[in-house]
Subunit: 196 residues, 4 copies
DNA sequence: GATGAATGAGCATTCATTCAT
DNA sequence: AATGAATGAATGCTCATTCAT
């Protein structure tokens, strides 16, 4: 009796990715079992292997596609903005917003780096470096233009990124502040932190 | 042939804690096996159970003793300081410094919260809240005194904590900046981020 | 995209048999997977079942058709020969030659008997007995005619068969001796082994 | 509840080896499952791993210790014999006898060579070559002494070995001939096969 | 005749934990 | 306090086979 209702083809892969993301976020990659995943998707364990090559590859695919989507979204967000201050504000607002909306992806992309193989690891870290580079560039431009006080652009960027990223560990929708409020507050803090 | 070198008495527990910390930091709690741990310590797996009750308890003990040490150290660091600005600076400098020196403990205390049982979890989270509370108090004092611009003391505190904590994911001794340099830079950024 | 090159019609079955033979010879029946086989043939696993009923049947078919071909070839080789000595020599030369040329079939026919079902097993073993019978008859004729010294025709036949069959485990074309050299040497040894 | 009655320490390893040998002989290495093996021994599957490193290593250990025992036994059997004819007769009688008594070890040592890893394979094959070398030496000595007709000592040796080894595929105790009868018959055939 | 996705059983191996010695 | 052997459950993965398309 092959083929259960409602689970054919690429929809299954989508479902696997969605459920995989949630389970890794919730329990961690090591702690998530393919049995859990299969149950969530509504198929047998063995059937997973019609869609993924290994558990390891599932993780890598998730991280890679997250990083690529993130980078593309950032570039779009920065597209219209010019001037270091406006660009920094746009970066901060975008980052907070994205990290609230996609907190699962963002979280596992930080926490599961160590679960990658030696081959996969540098690929993701490199994509991350591209992302960080955008912020470092903004800070360096601002420093040259004399509008930011930046002792070390990279270290400052890591600080700002950490400040903005923290949001995905504590923010819960429906709390005291809206996502927009938080974005505004943190954008303000980020800007002030590099003020002359 | 009982008793291999280096494994007698209370020293063994110490060795277990030290090795456990390192292994959890490196591979994550779920991914670390007691077999690895025993091998690292130089005893057989079964012997671990003369020193710990369960794997779970090992984790809890590590996190709990870390949080208690951290809190005590913070109180000592803030002891002589008065005035919101000086207290905030002292907090920031202490936090960065501690998070560089004890990065393993700090890291697993963030990343392995989810591996705790429902009974253990609130104990650690509560200790953490005490730590955060110190910073929130400083910010609220500063806001009341009119020297800090703080829209929401808790959210601002989370931001500053994230900014300062980030250090333990990227700092490597021997890099471009010394620990003291980084502490100074991040203290400055933290102070400016709440400037009026 | 149905139908990849090289996989239409009855040619596919041929390709399956050829690849199956090679894979069983190389890895053993149990160790060969239908996935490997399908990949070798250039079709999907499911498609195999348009040509074979089960993996088990593939093995049986291979062994059965091998044994039938072998028997027919033997009868042809013995056709013109008369007299125990000439018939024994003809048998030995044929056996060595065939076992060099078709060593895969021969090998799996010995080694995979145990992978047959209780229904299939006696069919193949019976065909084998027919083959052995030819040699036993020659030996008994020779004994009766007083030209062979044979204590027990069956046991002697098993010995000669083993001697001649061994060739398929070590013979490599291009070695010190040609196939014809080996056939001559072993024929000679077989004849001498039953000399009065 | 650790430790079931009757299964402690090195006795368990012995039991594993004994049962492993039987199961590999019966079903082949690939087809034997560690579940079967554990059941046979009367322990849980996981407990096997207190005694063997992997399934693969079990096979290797069996083959290696068989070959070493075989070699030692051969040397002992040849110890007192001198002269090519007497030595060949001693070799043949020993070989047949050993291959009847230890047919399981002998059989799997032939049939499971292909299940060895690339590292294990040459170790066993090398031991085998040492064994074959003993026979080749005898034949070469005999040829030099003018008492054997040997066109190619190695190829002749392979033939004789095959002739003698065959016994382990068909001999059943209690049949028409005793082990001693078969040994005598095959020793005679082997000697005659190289007669001048 | 071929495909791709499914099934369910099975595999070798690892794990935390227990306990007689 | 340490060992070594046991347990039983779990893990990631593979397999022969089925079948709607």
């Amino acid at each position: 009796m092959a083929r259960t209702a409602g689970s054919h083809g690429p929809k299954t892969l989508e479902a696997i990715n969605r459920a995989g993301l949630r389970l890794i976020y919730e329990h961690g990659f090591e702690a998530m079992s393919l049995r859990q995943l299969a149950a969530e998707v509504g198929i047998q364990v063995g059937s997973l292997y019609n869609h993924i090559r290994t558990k390891q590859d599932l993780l890598f695919g998730l991280l890679q596609s997250h990083m690529e989507t993130l980078l593309a979204a950032l570039d779009q967000a920065l597209a219209g903005e010019s001037g270091p201050e406006r660009r920094l504000a746009a970066f901060a607002a975008f980052h907070v917003d994205y990290h609230i909306v996609r907190k699962e992806e963002v979280f596992i992309c930080y926490s599961e780096l160590r679960s990658l193989t030696p081959e996969q690891y540098p690929v993701i870290v490199d994509l991350r470096r591209h992302y960080e580079r955008r912020l470092i560039d903004i800070l360096e431009d601002g420093a040259r233009a004399g509008c930011f006080a930046v002792a070390d652009a990279a270290v400052t960027a890591y600080g700002i990124l950490a400040l903005l990223t923290g949001v995905c560990t504590w923010f819960r929708p429906g709390g005291r502040m809206s996502a927009a409020d938080v974005a505004a507050l943190y954008t303000d803090m980020a800007l002030k932190s590099v003020k002359i």
